[in-house]
Symmetry: C2
């Protein structure tokens, strides 16, 4: 056996990293639940036919195939396998809605009646890894978690409103101070392209260029678009709208009059106006969102409102979403025809951003208090009671371990462990301390040590940790 290792593009998450990941995931879950989203998990291994033809030619090349040991021997070169690893969480959602969306079960309130197995609308969140056989690189992994919240089965603009509200609440809860949810609408962009006299066939490529406006200066994007065959009049028409400035209401007002000739644009503007009204009525602080007509979002399946969150950290967007009213039909193979709208939090980027912004400063590792242990039976009892009392008070207390029988090296080992794991305090009760009814309390940050009364040691330590 050579050196131990993992596959490129995959990661071991050791405790210090896991504690950060779990903190972010738990914060998001709490907010998802508060807004009425319910958890869903699907298998890592999907049938190939569920994934086939869903991710475009380039995407499909990145799918990992799964082969049982028995089938390895019979697999023919170039043959597709029956099973493959999950590539995203949207296709599994469409499959779940297609399979169970119309299933009826006994009504819990009245067993004689039937009710839908999945509520409609179905509001679910899903936080699971996905796999892509991409070339690994800075911030690009072959195994990474996606973290999605979607509503399937409603066209109400309240859906977009609540997804944006929960996005704002989530980033505030994670400690972000400076972030913006940029909002736009696919119908507005469609109308803009239409009214600028650009052929509808060019819509996707024009949007791809517009989407670069957050990284490139407008002149460069104009040049790129000219290279795609747009003339000066068309470019002027586009940029006149994109360059609109002011409050969200002012930008929409400007677009309303400039795009008066496009029915699609007017529909988009109408929906965004309603969204702004609802966001205000729901009390979402307008400092955290704004209409941005340069937001295009690469993926071509969006049909309505689109949004994307950017922060002060240099990591790119930390979350994005939008309405996609035709995708569930396509992805479920026509088994479910339901409108949908969702948002996705970029877990790895959020972690990188929080690291950059110093938002993990107060996160502690698992250990809080280490009670050293010497193996003397009378003393053991006292140490055990102290640990038990601390744990009952909600403190993460540990007993020091030593080899049997106890040797002086055992104490050095235990203090080394306390240091490696970042404990706040160590408590030492030896035979001497016990005879005096005392314990030695060592603050492992300042390295100062003091004597405290044994009888009230647990209370005193719990109090200091929680102050």
């Amino acid at each position: 056996m050579g050196e131990l290792g993992t596959m490129g593009g995959t990661r071991d998450f050791l405790p210090d990293e896991m504690i950060r990941r779990e903190y972010v995931i738990d914060t998001l879950k709490t907010i998802f639940r508060k807004y009425g989203f319910e958890p869903l998990e699907t298998p890592a291994i999907e049938r190939w036919e569920t994934l086939a033809g869903k991710y475009g030619e380039e995407g499909e090349k990145l799918i990992y195939h799964v082969v049982s040991s028995g089938s390895l021997g019979t697999l023919k070169a170039g043959e597709r396998t029956e099973h493959a690893l999950r590539y995203d969480l949207t296709v599994p959602l469409a499959r779940v809605v297609g399979m169970y969306g119309d299933q009826m079960v006994a009504d819990p309130a009245d067993p004689k009646k039937q009710t839908r197995r999945l509520p409609r609308p179905f509001k679910r969140y899903q936080i699971q890894p996905v796999w892509r056989g991409d070339r690994p690189g800075e911030g690009r992994y072959r195994e990474f978690h996606q973290c999605d919240a979607d509503v399937v089965g409603s066209t109400s603009p309240l859906v977009e409103t609540e997804l944006i509200a929960l996005t704002v609440e989530a980033f505030k809860a994670l400690g972000f101070a400076d972030f913006t949810v940029k909002i736009n609408h696919r119908q507005l962009l469609k109308g803009l392209i239409e009214q600028a006299g650009i052929a509808p066939t060019k819509e996707a490529t024009v949007l791809t260029s517009i989407d670069k406006l957050d990284k490139l200066p407008p002149e460069k994007v104009r040049l790129e678009l000219a290279g795609k065959g747009l003339n000066a009049d068309q470019l002027d028409a586009l940029f006149q709208v994109i360059a609109l400035e002011g409050t969200s209401e002012q930008v929409l007002e400007g677009a309303r009059s400039l795009l008066a000739g496009s029915e699609a644009a007017q529909r988009g503007i109408g929906e965004l106006t309603k969204l702004l009204h609802y966001l205000e009525a729901l009390g979402v602080d307008s400092a955290y969102y704004r209409i941005d007509l340069a937001l295009a979002r690469g993926l071509d399946y969006y049909t309505g409102t689109i949004f994307e969150t950017v922060s002060a950290a240099k990591v790119g967007s930390v979350g994005a979403g939008g309405r996609y009213d035709r995708l569930i039909y396509d992805l479920s193979g026509g088994k479910a025809d339901l409108p949908a709208c969702g948002t996705s939090f970029g877990l790895d980027r959020i972690l990188a951003a929080m690291d950059q912004l110093g938002l993990f400063a107060s996160l502690r590792r698992a250990g809080e208090v280490l009670v050293l242990h010497f193996g003397d039976p009378g003393v053991s009892q006292v140490c055990f009671e102290l640990v038990r009392g601390l744990r009952e008070a909600g403190v993460r207390a540990e007993l020091g371990y030593h080899e049997e029988p106890f040797t002086p090296n055992g104490m050095r080992q235990q203090l080394g462990y306390a240091n490696e794991k970042g404990f706040a305090y160590a408590v030492i009760v030896g035979p001497d301390e016990m005879a005096q009814g005392q314990a030695a309390l060592r603050d492992l940050t300042t390295r100062r040590q003091e004597k405290i009364p044994l009888a009230t040691a647990g209370q005193l330590i719990a109090g200091r940790l929680r102050s």
Copy 2:
């Protein structure tokens, strides 16, 4: 595209099931952390050489291989692939300890010093899916979660003590009233076999038969052992010890005198005696554990204390563990030579047991209060404020969604949704109610409806839910 479906032996966890799973996992995590265990996650895809030769011939056949799309074309029949899916959580733990166990990093307390990247002992928990290409059947899945807590790097009997203490605490916290942690020791069993005059080469097969004593009557097990070549004297010597009855202390006392001639047995008995003393000193209720000399545990890698938890539910053991002081060396390819002891909770069986025992009765789904919405701007504002206030009070409140513009069907849809999702209350504020400064509160369990003052509606509802 044919019918939608999943691979046999895998499962979609819809919200009602997920809520139960998350409840159990969150309960276990809280207890792991309290005892100083830290989270670890490793990639689903491992290098083949990490897994090869670790699970025996039969186990290895169940491993799923992973192939990128590009490699499908060049894969030769029968050829092993470079990568495969995780089969358990113990081999990845050994790999992690082998890779990072001796790595040094800057000491957080003093950057000029170096400290170990992983604390020693390393106390980690890991809750992740594993994959096995087994034939699916009742309670046998191809993708299922394992839930392990292990301590690597200490021979202290405090490790076993705390693992059993946390096991008892976990099952109590999950609501189990009637359960037992059965405890035995591999050295005691080894000494028993030795002293009965049975060849050491027969140890594994004899233990396999003894392990069946919880399902088969002693006569059947005797018959099976006789079939394996044991004579009457050997069988009597075995069963004289196994049949010892009484308190844990009495059983150990009996074994101590019957197995006086075996050094291994006396070592095992000495360690179990210390364990009982420590469990009592730590205040673990002795109603929940006992020495059971018929417990053998199938896996042959255990070297010391072994234990297994059984409950009143008919699902088999719900958890098990033990000390395995040589396994990390073997599994890490000799990169780490550390003693270890761990426990594993059987998540699927725990869920089945809790279902059987009715321990999920009080678990609620995501929805608590649905505030119906009619789309009238003035009323909207009131509904939004009500939802916002309820959420701030920690209530899982949702706004009803309806298609725009609102039609009378919208109200029926919203009440249908409330029913499907099991909400406790629906709140209705229409123009009439608003004019009277009232809201209609419908209890969705009793289906009774009453008028409440709008101004204090949020407080009143939050109070009822929390009472």
